[in-house]
Amino acid sequence: MAKLKVALYWAASCGGCEIATLQIGEKILKLAEAADIVFWPVAVDVKYADVGKMPDKSIDACLFNGAIRTSENEHIAKLLRAKSKLMIAYGSCAYEGCIPGLANFYNRQMIFNRAYVETPSTDNPKKIYPQMRVKVPEGELEIPEFYDTVKTLAQTVDVDYFVPGCPPEEKSTWLALEALIEGKLPPKGTVISPSTKAVCDECPRKKEEKKIKKFYRPYEIIPEPEKCLLEQGLLCYGIATRGGCGALCPQANMPCTGCYGPVEGVIDQGAHFLSALSSIIDSNDPEEIQKIVNDIPDPAGTFYRYSLPASLLRRARIK
């Protein structure tokens, strides 16, 4: 049997997904047995032009991590889509926009202003911003366009599968690769994860009644080791987040932050978490409720930490 051809790409993301692919450990030998890597900029020296020369659909699968932040991201996403039989959005950035997607609370000008003028370590009195084109003696240089809005991969090209996580845990990664190697592909559009349920399903902590009088940030309390973190006032996102990670964070006394995205069938993860939280605040007094709610730091960033571009909101409207 001919070996599979696999491409990996890193768009707008931190690079963690690249490392996560290696988390499969010795199973990488199985992968190497079954597949050739034809494109992987971080590890293999293959140029964009080389990809352009490959026949359409000649790559069996592309594991694409990262959101679509720049025209370069978009260009390569479209190129790889054309060359690949299967496009897999690998990791939260490609799947939902993730941390880079939080930029959608601002616009390009605000981001440039912050990054190139306002930050305390920046000395830029003339307020020089990056330009797409610049003339130098040798000719005109061009860099990719920085878009106003971060998009998910699926908002840019047709995507076959999604692997959730920031980054995806080993089990999820292997589930996707195994399906590929063995040719047992799930229906198109599947979010590949060992669980269709929420993180709570995998979390060994004891669940009793959820009634919250006060929210705490993780540094403010030492949580009881066996009791549900949310019941202790920590903003644990596990109730509204797809499992598959094995509830790693709650088991290390850290509340889930929601990186595996919404549970199967949920349209907007942030809205569901918000709606659930507002249902368990233990007060009927509007003033007290306001006080309790005020303890939630950075609500937009908390509820949409991983999913803003993929949410119903997509981005903030900037006047």
Partner: protein, 661 residues
């Protein structure tokens, strides 16, 4: 999948809708929508011929979905569901668009209103496409009834039901049943003695084998729904042994500690241990723990009652150790008859209540004329003299934008009754200040006519103030009632010895709390809201909970009794059917998604959700009988595992998208 065939019917509602919305245009437009097979408009869709149109089209055109655009679904959704069912379809394959309250009644631009009606119809058509047939089930109804409030309304309702040999729990917060009616002296217009007609009913209630009387008790918690309410009652500690107390009153005679009597409206004193009044039911003593020196000193002081109680009903144990009891039971229906509070006239400073000795409220005057009352039935001033002149002031706190805008309905009549009693008992001059004389009940106008021949001075006008500042010798030592006589068009100053303020009836101070406990609504004026002001006046929007008497608004005794009987009939009709139809549009859990986080369980107002074990983990389970389809669980479920029948994401999103497309 079967082909979806939708019929759309636009109701003209006479000119209610057709006067603003071009129904012909809307019907024509609806006919162009996908899957719409027939689209009609008709004068009154709710009429028999209107409903027959639907039935006929279902049968002849093979419709399998129906949309009616008409009035509010609160009004006629059940009507059309029934019509659809009669036509041979599942009643849930129907959708209602409200183009009256939501459109024609609130708009006057015909073109825009017509466009909006089209939008609403398009959204309903899109939604009904996704409707699914649902199964309606029957569940047994618990025949026991809870009656809250032991005034005349609660007693009457309890007796009617108990006489039908059904168990009634009657909960009264005071130590005795009787309510405000027990405080009244004589009742208008017949002038028969209130306690004479009430005490036989009280003892009937006390003795009835089918009534469990829980006096000195308050409902703390109600859960569940029609047919199966779970009730938690706090029975307050009387600090006596109820099984031993014989009501001999010796404890009360010997008790040295006094305070103002609530029953006598502060005109007499009661003791720390007391029986509220002579005819109290149950006839048991009660100890006021805030006054009793023995309790307050933790057994170090007094203890007179312990010594003198031959029945040994009062002991150090009962005084110091007895605590409130929580009693729990199940009922199928609930009648709320919690009555009213008398408006406190001291909030109107220019009327001088609380400042001048001889300015009284209506209920204080009732106690004064009562033969068993603090003055032995004599009308007396504070200094013991009989008054030579008395003013009666109507509409104190009623028909007044500063306090209550509503009419309290009974004040004119009791004011006239006072005038008669003053003439009869004290032979004093009477000045009656009224705004309008409202004498609408049986025998009321005749009573007014009789009074106008008894030499009462009627002055039409609102009283501005009551003062003791005399402007002339004649006014010295008197209370001067200042007001406008609107018939003469001049300001009058009337010096009198006594003033009676006809205080408004207002919603009880605990009405808000009760509304929360029973999950019922209140009107802007604070009284409980009926389901329909004309056609369902004793029901509440919560199925199985009924309201009677003054908790629903001021009313006189005949109306109160009639209402109480109406609530009993409502409860009895449910009991006689024996089953309830359960809601079909309820929530359901996808166990492959549910992670058992438990958010829904605590949230369900009907305790219809519980977490059940599955393969070593827990998943939510919906009790289909208890679920009322409120949707709280579904909205709160963070993982989308709970959905609502008839309110699926698909249905709602289709409707929303169609509305804005």
């Amino acid at each position: 999948m079967e082909e979806i065939r939708i019929g759309v019917y636009i109701c003209q509602c006479g000119l209610n809708i057709a006067g603003v919305v071009n129904v012909e245009e809307v019907a024509k437009y609806a006919g162009t929508l996908p899957n719409v097979v027939v689209s009609r408009h008709y004068r009154y869709m709710c009429s028999d011929p209107g409903q027959d149109l639907i039935k006929k089209d279902i049968q002849e055109l093979g419709l399998n979905r129906v949309v009616v655009a008409a009035c509010s679904p609160k009004m006629h959704e059940p009507t059309f569901r029934k019509a659809v069912e009669d036509g041979g379809l599942n009643p849930y394959l129907y959708e209602h668009a409200n183009i009256r309250e939501h459109c024609s009644w609130v708009h006057d631009d015909k073109k825009l209103a017509t466009n909006k009606a089209k939008d609403l119809v398009r959204a309903a058509v899109r939604r009904v496409y996704y409707h699914e047939p649902l199964v309606i089930k029957e569940a047994p109804l618990n025949p026991n009834v809870l009656v809250v409030g032991g005034g005349i309304a609660g007693m009457q309702a309890a007796l009617d039901i108990a006489n039908g040999q059904h168990k009634v729990y009657l909960v009264e917060k005071d130590p005795s049943i009787g309510g405000h009616m027990m405080q009244l002296d004589r009742t208008f217009p017949t002038l028969d003695c209130s306690e004479c007609i009430l005490t036989p009913k009280m003892s009937d209630v006390g003795r009835h084998p089918f009534i469990e009387l829980l006096a000195y008790s308050e409902v703390e918690e109600v859960s569940g729904s029609i047919g199966n309410f779970k009730v938690k009652v706090r029975k307050k500690a009387r600090h006596i042994d109820e099984s031993k107390c014989i009501g001999c009153n010796v404890c009360e005679e010997k008790c040295p500690w006094k305070t103002d009597s609530e029953f006598e409206m502060g005109l007499a004193k009661r003791k720390a241990v007391y029986i509220p009044f002579a005819q109290a039911v149950p006839h048991l003593a009660v100890v006021d723990p805030n006054l009793c020196a023995y309790i307050k000193s933790d057994g170090k002081k007094c203890g007179a009652c312990i010594k003198f109680c031959e029945a040994q009903a009062i002991t150090p144990e009962t005084l110091l150790k007895q605590t409130d009891q929580i009693i729990e039971f199940d009922v199928g229906t609930i009648i709320i008859a919690t009555g009213y509070d008398q408006f406190d006239p001291s909030v109107i400073p220019h009327y001088g209540y609380g400042k001048y000795d001889n300015v009284l409220t209506g209920l204080q005057f009732e106690r004064m004329t009562c033969a068993a009352g603090p003055t032995g039935g004599k009308i007396l001033l504070k200094d013991g003299r009989e008054p030579e002149s008395v003013a009666i002031v109507h509409c104190v706190g009623s028909r007044d934008q500063n306090y209550h805008e509503y009419c309290s309905r009974v004040c004119c009549m009791y004011g006239l009754k006072y005038a008669h009693l003053i003439k009869e008992l004290a032979k004093a001059d009477v000045y009656e200040f009224y705004i309008d004389m409202r004498c609408f009940g049986e025998g009321y106008e005749e009573f007014y006519k009789r009074l106008s021949e008894e030499g009462v001075n009627f002055i039409r006008g609102k009283v501005a103030k009551i003062t003791d500042e005399a402007l002339s010798d004649e006014e010295k030592g008197k209370l001067i009632v200042v007001g406008e006589d609107t018939l003469l068009g001049k300001i009058v100053r009337v010096p009198v010895d006594m003033v009676i303020l006809c205080s408004a009836l207002e919603a009880r101070s605990d009405a808000e709390n009760l509304a929360k406990i029973f999950n019922i609504n209140r009107r802007a004026d604070g009284f409980f809201l009926e389901r329909h002001i004309k056609l369902d006046p004793v029901a509440t929007p919560t199925d199985g909970i009924f309201i009677a008497g003054c908790c629903e608004g001021p009313r006189d005794i005949p109306d109160t009794v009639a209402q109480a009987e109406a609530t009993a009939a409502k409860a009895l009709s449910l009991i006689s059917k024996g089953t309830i139809t359960t809601e079909a549009a309820i929530s359901y859990v996808d166990e492959t998604i549910c992670s058992g986080c438990g958010i829904c369980e605590a949230l369900c107002p009907f305790q219809a959700i519980e977490l059940q074990p599955r393969d070593g983990k827990r998943v939510s389970h919906v009790n289909e009988v208890a679920c009322k389809g409120c949707g709280a669980c579904s909205a709160a479920c963070p993982s989308g595992a709970i959905a609502m029948h008839h309110f699926t994401n698909e249905q709602i999103l289709a409707q929303v998208e169609a509305l804005f497309s």
